[in-house]
């Protein structure tokens, strides 16, 4: 990575400036959405008996959309920046995505906060069409408009990154097929391989989202009666993949960043190539585990769902975990805040993955589906997984671009508080799932009153988490701002 800001050319400066802007945006959205999350847990802890539940559901919707969006974009920004080492992605596409995302998020915030549109972030058909006087039809329209804008502009960015890869690599090289055949040349970095796989899959997810919106419109206009089961399949094809791929983009960043700290190369071996090609095959079917409790899905589809979900964990997770451990073991590893976050992120991914595999078991899903176990597992690999990996990237890059003094000891405490707050908060979700507390309940009925105490304990941990994040992220943000300003002044 070129160290000096002054020596960089205009294209590099633009790339850095954009990346810093993305970092600032993602971190700001993250903090806002963490506060929303705190509000949700406090609400479930009966802290606001006078507030109507509608505020819970609309905040829930906004919280999830922001988290999914912020970290998809954050990881895209990281991948975009790192890809520029090998190919030339267009900064214009990234800027377009920035504009589109701001517009989309503003529209969604309006529809949820002003319009009280609270149907959950994946707006399961046909709930948005049943406002019951709680929200007005304009809120539905604005929400869908916001989503459509996000889908279109994200797709532009995704396709542009693919285009940039395609300019240098053929499809078979980008997917490492020559390595599968035993060839060593040409070399393809894992970053390129994983990103290619992820972007192709994300394209499918965004197309599915567009289809869902289209079918909603068809149904709304009365031109067709849309099948609820088909809509649910399409919804999770999109929803599951976008979350799943955010994780993989984070892993792509991991593959690119970690070798520098270990002083060892991490090349695309045959196993790595096999693993990510298997992901390409399996990831489109893993979403089926969201429909286990829809007995209307044929039995063989459910079997396929469990099988795909199980074996999806093998290539990506098992290969990567072993790779990480082998890479850092006795490597003279350079521990910085960024490298710590990376390794902790991998651990979070592992733990969330274990919980996910357990929940992807049909027999278990019968008592875990839509209990707090579900948010437990995805918050684990999100908050304690990909978020840490992408934050590692922001931390490292902003440090590299500004070269401040590093206070290693403070970083250690930050990490401890971050993990304590995070895992304490998660533990209450897991415990809630195991004690049958349903997810997405504004308040708890008498049968599951344990959820109230759990929510209060969780809220306390979120306060720790938020406090630590606020201090830590403001430091990173200050560096990002400085780097951003430097780049702008230099260009």
């Amino acid at each position: 990575m070129p160290p000096s800001t002054l020596a960089a050319d205009a294209g590099t400066l633009r790339l850095r400036r954009n990346t810093m802007l993305w970092a600032l945006t993602a971190m700001a959205l993250f903090l806002v959405s963490t506060l929303l999350g705190l509000f949700l847990r406090l609400f479930q802890g009966n802290a606001f008996p006078a507030v109507e539940p509608v505020w819970f559901y609309s905040s829930l919707t906004l919280h999830a959309i922001i988290m999914v969006g912020a970290w998809f974009l954050g990881s895209m920004a990281g991948v975009h920046y790192l890809l520029a080492r090998y190919v030339q992605p267009s900064s214009t596409a990234s800027e377009l995505a920035m504009g589109g995302s701001v517009a989309g998020v503003v529209l969604i915030a309006i529809s949820t906060l002003l319009g009280k549109f609270g149907v959950g972030w994946y707006f399961l058909f046909p709930l948005p069409l049943y406002p019951n006087g709680v929200w007005l039809p304009w809120a539905t329209a604005v929400f869908f408009a916001g989503l459509a804008i996000l889908a279109v502009f994200w797709l532009i960015w995704v396709l542009d990154l693919l285009r940039a890869i395609a300019r240098r690599y053929s499809l078979s090289v980008a997917l490492g097929w020559h390595i599968l055949r035993g060839a060593k040349e040409p070399e393809v970095p894992p970053l390129v391989l994983i990103t290619t796989v992820s972007l192709v899959v994300v394209t499918a997810a965004l197309v599915a989202a567009a289809l869902v919106l289209l079918l909603f419109l068809l149904h709304w206009s009365g031109r067709a009666r849309v099948d609820a089961l088909l809509m649910k399949n399409l919804t999770f094809l999109f929803g599951h993949i976008i979350v799943n791929i955010t994780l993989y983009l984070g892993v792509a960043i991991l593959y690119e960043m970690l070798p520098a700290f270990a002083g060892r190369p991490w090349k695309t071996s045959k196993l790595v190539a096999i693993a990510w090609n298997a992901v390409l095959l399996l990831v489109l079917f893993a979403y089926l585990h969201h429909l286990y409790m829809d007995f209307a899905q044929p039995r063989w589809v459910q079997v396929a769902g469990q099988t795909a979900s199980y074996f999806l964990s093998l290539p990506a997770a098992a290969v990567t975990i072993f790779g990480v451990l082998a890479l850092i073991y006795r490597s003279g590893f350079r521990w910085t805040m960024a490298s710590r976050l990376l390794v902790c992120g991998v651990l979070g991914w592992v733990i969330g993955g274990i919980a996910a595999v357990i929940d992807a078991t049909v027999a278990v899903n019968s008592v875990f589906h839509n209990t707090l176990w579900v948010p437990a597992h995805f918050h684990t690999y999100y908050l304690m997984g990909v978020v840490l990996m992408v934050l590692a990237f922001f931390d490292h890059l902003s440090r590299e671009l500004t070269r401040p003094d590093t206070d290693v000891r403070a970083a250690g405490w930050t990490l401890v508080l971050l993990l304590a707050g995070g895992y304490g908060f998660l533990a209450m979700f897991y415990y809630g799932g195991a004690t049958s507390v349903p997810r997405r309940f504004a308040t708890y009925p008498e049968e599951t009153l344990q959820g109230v105490i759990q929510a209060r304990v969780a809220a306390a941990f979120v306060v720790v988490l938020f406090g630590t994040l606020a201090v830590y992220l403001s430091r990173v943000a200050a560096r990002c701002l400085r780097a951003f300003a430097d780049c702008r002044n230099a260009s």
Partner: protein, 191 residues
């Protein structure tokens, strides 16, 4: 032990093992030494095979325990369930319209003999809901989605008499958390 706790313990054991492994490796990242590539590749092979075998074993052990009804047993009773914002109507007679749903959701609780196989025929009259059957003590026993346009058949044999609450397991609107239903399991000899 309820299945939830079994799953939780399995999760904790694997998580602790994974965390311990990470911790050990993280403690041993210093004193740089080149690794023997052959030993690494051998270990990696073993790790991959172990993971695969574990997954295959888990698949073979759990796939036979699908919650979907199958088999030749004839249920002793059918209970019709219609979900609608924001209540479950349970009835021994089919529920086809809003009036029947209202009567069913406000009428007395359906009674089910203990230890008999009961088939719940679950559907929705509006949006997606989740038909989650809880024990009188508040443990989730089983569930199926209530999806408009479909009737899902959930079969249960409940041993203990008592009032069984039904909670909604799919976000269905502003009163989702207060949507409920109830049925009563009575000692078998009374029916």
């Amino acid at each position: 032990m309820i299945p939830q706790y079994k799953a939780l313990f399995a999760f904790l054991i694997i998580t602790i093992a994974a965390t311990a492994t990470f911790h050990w490796v993280m403690r041993n990242t210093g004193n740089r030494k080149p690794l023997n590539p052959e030993a690494v590749s051998k270990l990696r092979g073993r790790f991959a095979i172990t993971c695969t075998l574990l997954l295959v074993a888990a698949l073979a052990l759990t796939l036979p325990h699908f919650p979907y009804p199958r088999g030749s047993e004839i249920p002793d009773k059918v209970v019709f369930v219609a979900a609608k914002q924001f209540a479950f109507g349970l009835s021994e007679a089919p529920i086809a319209n809003d009036a029947q749903w209202e009567a069913a959701s406000q009428g007395p609780a359906v009674r089910i003999p203990a230890n008999r196989l009961v088939e719940f025929r679950v559907t929705s009259l509006d949006v997606n809901h989740g038909f989650g059957v809880y024990s009188p003590g508040g443990t989730l026993l089983a569930q199926t989605q209530a999806m408009p346009g479909y009737v899902n058949r959930l079969r249960l044999r409940l041993r203990n008499p008592g009032r069984y609450p039904v909670l909604c397991m799919e976000l269905c609107g502003m009163e989702h958390h207060s949507m409920r239903g109830v049925f009563e399991v009575i000692p078998a000899d009374k029916d």
